[in-house]
């Protein structure tokens, strides 16, 4: 038995539950106890508030940085994987090209640039803006509509037997890239019941080079002078070969004479 009390045990005055006669006599431990704890009311230190601020700042920053955009399926803390890829692949033409078909992209270009005059239904405005739906220019070979879009059209024109003359079509070669022109032509030639071949950016690029020296818009006479044929290099099915936007967009700048 390892009995080595460091204090003199004072067994003579000992107090012991086992031999108690009076509860008050007995509880030596209770008796010598200090009073129950109280609470002081010192104020918060400014340093502690600084620590709170730091913790909240870093906690919030961490949450914002690594939360994977708070998507339920986002396992990657840095954000959902497709987002950065899109930005790289889309190039100057914008983010959505990777996913959308040429037809859908063309619809967007049409809505942004052409719809004001030619209308969303492609019927134009009687007496002012010619229709595209069922138009012999739109649905014929792709060379004629491509020329019109690139360089514009002025003067009277007869479409589906109706005479139009007041409005002028502006040239788009300085505004739209080959990709966008190809897309919008593909859209116009396959929408509203039209059923003509799609147009590729490469075709537009070639035509743009061919027409580079021309400064003024075409007239109906100019258009009817060229044969009603598809542009060379076409006949790729719609949405077939994935477009290479980087290449296509490069030669877009038209050299002015």
């Amino acid at each position: 038995m390892n009995d080595e009390p460091k204090m003199s045990p004072r067994t003579g005055q000992g107090m012991d539950y086992g031999e108690q006669s009076d509860v008050q006599q007995v509880h030596a431990a209770v008796r010598r106890e200090k009073r129950e704890p109280r609470v002081g009311a010192e104020p918060l230190s400014i340093w502690l508030i600084a620590i709170y601020g730091l913790a909240i700042f870093f906690g919030g920053a961490y949450l914002g940085r690594f939360s994977g955009n708070f998507t339920s399926g986002g396992l990657d803390p840095m954000g959902s994987p497709p987002a950065p890829k899109k930005a790289v692949a889309g190039g100057p033409a914008g983010g959505e090209q990777v996913e959308l078909s040429p037809h859908d992209r063309g619809k967007k270009v049409f809505a942004a640039n052409c719809q004001t005059c030619h209308q969303a239904n492609g019927l134009g405005v009687a007496g002012q803006y010619p229709p595209l739906a069922g138009s012999e220019f739109t649905t014929g070979g792709s060379r004629r509509p491509a020329m019109i879009v690139l360089k514009g059209l002025q003067g009277p024109v007869t479409v589906k037997g109706q005479q139009f003359g007041t409005a002028v079509m502006q040239p788009w070669d300085k505004t739209l890239t080959d990709q966008k022109i190809a897309d919008v032509l593909t859209y116009e030639r396959s929408e509203w019941g039209n059923n003509a071949s799609p147009v590729t950016p490469e075709q537009i690029a070639a035509l743009r080079k061919e027409l580079a020296s021309r400064t003024e818009s075409f007239t109906e006479h100019d258009i009817l002078a060229v044969p009603d044929e598809d542009l060379p290099g076409g006949s790729a099915p719609a949405g077939g070969a994935p477009p290479k936007p980087g290449e296509a967009a490069k030669p877009a700048a038209p050299p002015k004479p």
């Binding site: 038995m1 390892n2 009995d3 080595e4 009390p5 460091k6 204090m7 045990p9 004072r10 067994t11 005055q13 000992g14 107090m15 012991d16 539950y17 086992g18 509860v23 008050q24 007995v26 509880h27 030596a28 431990a29 209770v30 008796r31 010598r32 106890e33 200090k34 009073r35 129950e36 704890p37 109280r38 609470v39 002081g40 009311a41 010192e42 104020p43 918060l44 230190s45 502690l48 620590i51 709170y52 730091l54 913790a55 909240i56 870093f58 906690g59 919030g60 961490y62 949450l63 690594f66 939360s67 994977g68 955009n69 998507t71 339920s72 399926g73 986002g74 396992l75 990657d76 803390p77």
Partner: protein, 492 residues
């Protein structure tokens, strides 16, 4: 042994007001004697069993054919048995004993019908015993810390309700208009545990969630049990023992309030940090990591509050066993939280996931923080229940140093070994077995720390047994760790 400056001479008898207060305390202590001693006794028994199993588990890692042929003693069964013994046998029972005693003292109300509370405790122990046998026989659920089969969970839940409702009833019948900080933590713990346990059971077994969410629930449960059950009891105990022993008010009420609410709010979010890079939505894990960063608020607040309470009284650590264990536990809370923050950050967690580091982390929480604090409270409470002083200062000192060095060595070994293991596992050129070779010496080192802890626990159990048998010293003075010089004692 609680007070230090005090009584080398006979306590001055009877100032009238003081007498009533002392008498009241004496009655309260007497009313809690049977249940609290029952909790403590069963806790110490589980502690010894769990420690022996821990040794087997630890040795089994670097001595695999130790129990080669015996299905009953395979590593995969021993480890969950060890953990469940420590969590539900030792930790919950000892914590419950301390919490009930503190609640009675602070509510200034005697414990009515203590035998019913004791019956709850007995029922709980029965549940743990059945559960342990079930795991050994192979009837384990396989979810960490929830391995007990469902029928055991029912027993535990009923027993818990019986015990906790008593503590809550005491709170209902409290006297005095003050509610002390310790009572916040204890009442919180008593209400949080059934919520955690019921939610865990419900979502894993009754209406099981599918797929990886089960892992999320398991970690949520284990982590919250550590913080909201064990951690809350330990912090509440430290908030009582430190000012009580040194006889000085807690530094600041404001710090205590902020500390309590931020602790409850943030630490309950931190469970997902062990799932970094697992198949979970990134925000789920990141929210946990952000909450871990925010737990620096309660860590700084509570740590500072304890530190400033102790300021100027640190020399008392030389004398009071209670204070020494409790302050060790309170400081370990800070260390535990800082390491928890470090290993939860994504860049670090990636390395230490599935390594020994998480074992080091849970031992820091459950042992260095919780168990040491509870040891301190037991050194304070047991003499008041049995009417004897601790028999030997040397035994207490041995217990303290063996425990402190044991857990320190274990933490170092497992942290160092775990980081090296993680670095090896990250290296695709190395075969997996290389990482095992790397960690092997550290596992041997851990077994040595386990021997230290085993020695500590056997010493404590022996000492505690002597106290139970009434073989403690009969004396009016507590058992100090070192002799108090007469002239310095007045200043404390």
């Amino acid at each position: 042994m609680n007070t230090t400056g005090i009584p080398l001479k006979e306590p001055a008898v009877s100032v009238a007001a003081g007498d009533t207060e002392q008498l009241e305390r004496a009655y309260i202590d007497a009313s809690t004697r049977i249940p609290v001693l029952l909790f403590y006794t069963s806790a110490v028994a589980w502690l010894i069993l769990g420690t022996v199993l821990a040794m087997l588990v630890s040795f089994g890692l670097h001595w695999p054919d130790l129990f080669g042929g015996m299905g009953l003693l395979t590593w995969g069964r021993l480890r969950p048995v060890h953990m469940n013994m420590m969590v539900y046998g030792w930790g919950s029972m000892a914590g419950m004993g301390t919490a009930v005693w503190l609640m009675a003292r602070l509510c200034r109300t005697t414990l009515r019908f203590p035998l019913l509370l004791a019956a709850g405790g007995a029922f709980w122990n029965l549940g743990v015993l059945i559960g342990v046998c079930a795991i050994l026989l192979g009837d384990s659920t396989g979810f960490q810390w929830l391995e007990f089969p469902r029928y055991v969970a029912v027993i535990l839940f009923v027993a818990y309700t019986l015990m906790a409702s008593w503590a809550v009833l005491m709170f209902r019948h409290r006297r005095g208009d003050q509610i002390y900080i310790t009572q916040w933590f204890l009442l919180g713990a008593f209400l949080w545990f059934p919520w955690l346990y019921a939610a865990g059971q419900l979502m894993l077994f009754v209406v099981p969630l599918q797929g990886v969410l089960q892992a999320a629930i398991t970690w949520w449960y284990a982590n919250n049990l550590l913080f909201l059950w064990f951690g809350a009891i330990a912090l509440g105990t430290a908030y009582y023992m430190i000012p009580k022993v040194i006889g000085r008010p807690v530094y600041s009420y404001h710090l205590a309030t902020i500390g309590f609410w931020t602790y409850a709010l943030f630490s309950s979010w931190t469970g997902m940090t062990r799932l970094v890079d697992g198949p979970f939505p990134a925000w789920m894990i990141t929210a946990s990591i952000a909450a871990t960063i925010l737990t620096m608020i309660p860590v700084a607040t509570i740590g500072l509050n304890h530190h400033l309470t102790m300021q100027g009284y640190f020399p008392l650590l030389r004398y009071s066993p209670t204070l020494r264990f409790t302050v060790f536990g309170a400081m370990s809370y800070t260390v535990f939280s800082l390491i928890g923050l470090l290993i939860s950050l994504r860049s670090v967690a990636r390395y230490v996931d599935f390594t020994q580091v998480s074992i080091a982390y849970s031992h820091l929480g459950l042992y260095a923080f919780f168990t040491m604090t509870i040891f301190g409270s037991m050194y304070y409470i047991v003499p008041r229940l049995v009417g004897r002083e601790w028999r030997s200062a040397s035994l207490i000192k041995l217990h303290f140093w063996a425990s402190a060095y044991g857990i320190g060595l274990m933490t170092l070994m497992l942290l160092a070994g775990g980081f090296l293991q993680g670095a090896d596992m990250q290296n695709p050129a190395l075969p997996f077995s290389e990482s095992i070779q790397t960690v092997l010496p550290y596992l041997r080192g851990r077994s040595i720390s386990g021997i230290l802890l085993t020695v500590a626990h056997f010493i404590f159990a022996y000492h505690f047994g002597l106290m139970l048998l009434g073989l403690g010293r009969t004396s009016t003075v507590p058992t100090f760790l070192n002799p108090v010089e007469a002239e310095t004692s007045g200043g404390h």
